[in-house]
Symmetry: C2
Subunit: 373 residues, 2 copies
């Protein structure tokens, strides 16, 4: 668990330290666009059969590391495991959209909602331990392993709606009409997630990420109260544990570009960004809002990977060129940045385009780093 | 067509003039949430049968004006009429989602795409004339009539995809892979929309709105190039006609809150806002970015109408309270604002909640106007 890292670029960038190039990993990097993933999946059965098997989860987690030389591994799992362990019954439709068999459809349902049973999440902790072990040889771990979960608000959206939605109108109705019930759900989610992420760290995760997929649907004041505050509470709880005060935490609110000054107060070490904001602007806004160094992660539009190698190369070049002009007193503007997409990789991505992307990131982040010094 | 207006609050607010209270209208105000709409619809047949009948379109356009005393009427139509008149064959699925029978699925399709045939849009111009007439008695028109269309980029999304989509991946792929084809489509859309909106004005529309529903999916640079620039070109063309240099134009990019400084350069008189940005912040950003007065329109989350009267009242109060603290040298911060939702009204809205909303807007916009002076 405390193995030395062969490649610590990602962790150094999380702490906004100087690095020789920008670390790169991709949201949903282990997934259906990879033929080797589809092979493992065929052996395993359903998506959940795969996610719930520590052995198969380990196999697919390592596939993109081996193929592309990425700088971090991320646990193969789902953002909705926690409500599943509250008894809501997670399933996936044939189109792979998540669905809960027992959504919170009445006041009664909310009132009897239990904190997630960590025993039922043992498969996750076992997978974390198994992946850590598989990444390690001769006492050295190849790259760090990131654990994760959905945010309290994002979980609430699915728990109430029962599945995906265009506008999450049921959830919004409950938010506006019965704030007491939303608060109860969020409190249970905060408590469950804090325990869940801590146990992932206990099992060997070296960084943690909170995916706030639907925080961007809220008004500014509701975002602060019902999405950001619960996430901040989780971060503060985890970091109050002396063992984890230096464990990097990444907070990613999709569509949160307008609220970066507030997100910078959350206690997160890294702020994830989607592609609707320039990295330069995000970097400057965050630097301005916080005295502590906060790193950024993102933010190429994943659809760019559906285009051609020349366009991918050009877009990566523009991304680093833009960031290199950010005004950050002192340091190199390319430090404290982790390259990623602005959202999960599409299942229709040609695998060879990802190789082009990773190569371009390594190349341009080295050359622009030199010229920005 | 040049009838005097009984209520010109909306037009005065479009020009950032002083008003005694804030004008209010609601996107999709004529729609399925109203029982009288459902009655007309049952007589008319499908949604398109209704939209294509000037008589029925007039009937439903007036219904919310009569019921709620709103300050503007908006043509009952669809944002996708223009590609229908290019021969793409607009239909609506049973869930009311739009679909094109002949989407642009090959390079060949794009190359032979014609400019929209305005003859095939005569039903729209007839509806505009018919509504204007129905709004008028004794030479006075009750409220102004707004004409509209989807934006060039938003039309392109549906024309390429063939219907709605979570991420419009086909369109994005074409944008990144074959910019020449996207440019061709956008050029045709700009030319068609310019003609279409001008003919709506010729028929009696006193303001025009461009709905950019999907511009918010783009990266900042692609938004500027492929959504904002085409909209600006349309605005500039329309206003170069001496007859329409003072015709107010509203530009609404959903999810465009990060780009308001750029949108302020578009030539639009009014900028539409969704609920993810505070009015105060939007007002200050826009004022800072433009020397010319630009009004704002929005931005209550339509889901608030699914809640209870007390919550609706409180949220409207907060909205005006927030805006009243905006720093606008000289004028009253509540002037140059048109109240609206941040997106179309939900079909599940209880009609009585809309009455509560309109009453609250009239009340609070009067009282906060007085206290902010």
């Amino acid at each position: 668990m405390a193995a030395e890292l062969e490649n610590d670029l990602f962790l150094r960038a999380c702490f906004s330290q100087k690095t020789e190039r920008t670390p790169v990993w991709l949201m949903r990097q282990a997934g259906r666009y990879l033929p080797e993933y589809r092979q493992t999946r065929a052996k395993a059965g359903s998506f959940l059969d795969l996610a719930k098997s520590p052995e198969y989860a380990t196999e697919v987690t390592l596939q993109p590391i081996d193929r592309y030389g990425l700088d971090a591994a991320i646990l193969f799992s789902d953002i909705l495991t926690v409500p599943d362990a509250m008894g809501l019954g997670l399933t996936f439709d044939s189109g792979e959209g998540p669905r809960f068999l027992h959504p919170l459809s009445s006041e009664e349902d909310v009132k009897k909602l239990p904190v997630a049973n960590m025993e039922q999440l043992r498969y996750v902790f076992d997978a974390v331990a198994s992946i850590s072990k598989a990444l390690t040889s001769n006492g050295k771990q190849q790259v760090p392993l990131i654990g994760f979960t959905g945010s309290p608000w994002t979980l609430a959206c699915y728990m109430i709606e029962g599945g995906g939605s265009k506008d999450f109108a049921k959830t919004k109705k409950m938010l506006y009409d019965r704030k007491d019930l939303i608060q109860k759900i969020l409190d249970i989610n905060v408590q469950s997630i804090t325990e869940y992420l801590t146990l992932q760290a206990d099992s060997g995760a070296q960084a943690l990420m909170i995916f706030d997929t639907w925080g961007g649907l809220l008004t500014p004041s509701d975002y602060l109260e019902h999405s950001l505050a619960p996430m901040s509470a989780i971060i503060s709880s985890i970091k109050s544990n002396p063992k984890y005060k230096d464990l990097p935490i990444i907070l990613f609110t999709k569509g949160g570009g307008l609220w970066l000054s507030d997100i910078a107060q959350s206690g997160a070490n890294v702020i994830g960004l989607d592609w609707t904001i320039e990295l330069k602007r995000a970097r400057q806004t965050i630097n301005h809002a916080s005295k502590n160094p906060i790193a950024i992660q993102g933010n190429l539009d994943p659809s760019i990977l559906l285009a051609n190698p020349a366009e991918i190369d050009a877009r990566v070049m523009q991304l680093f060129q833009g960031l290199s002009t950010a005004d950050v007193a002192g340091g190199n503007p390319l430090d404290g940045h982790i390259f990623n997409l602005g959202h999960g990789i599409s299942q229709f991505t040609p695998p060879e385009n990802v190789a082009v992307l990773v190569d371009a990131v390594k190349r341009y982040s080295t050359s622009f780093r030199a010229s920005a010094q």
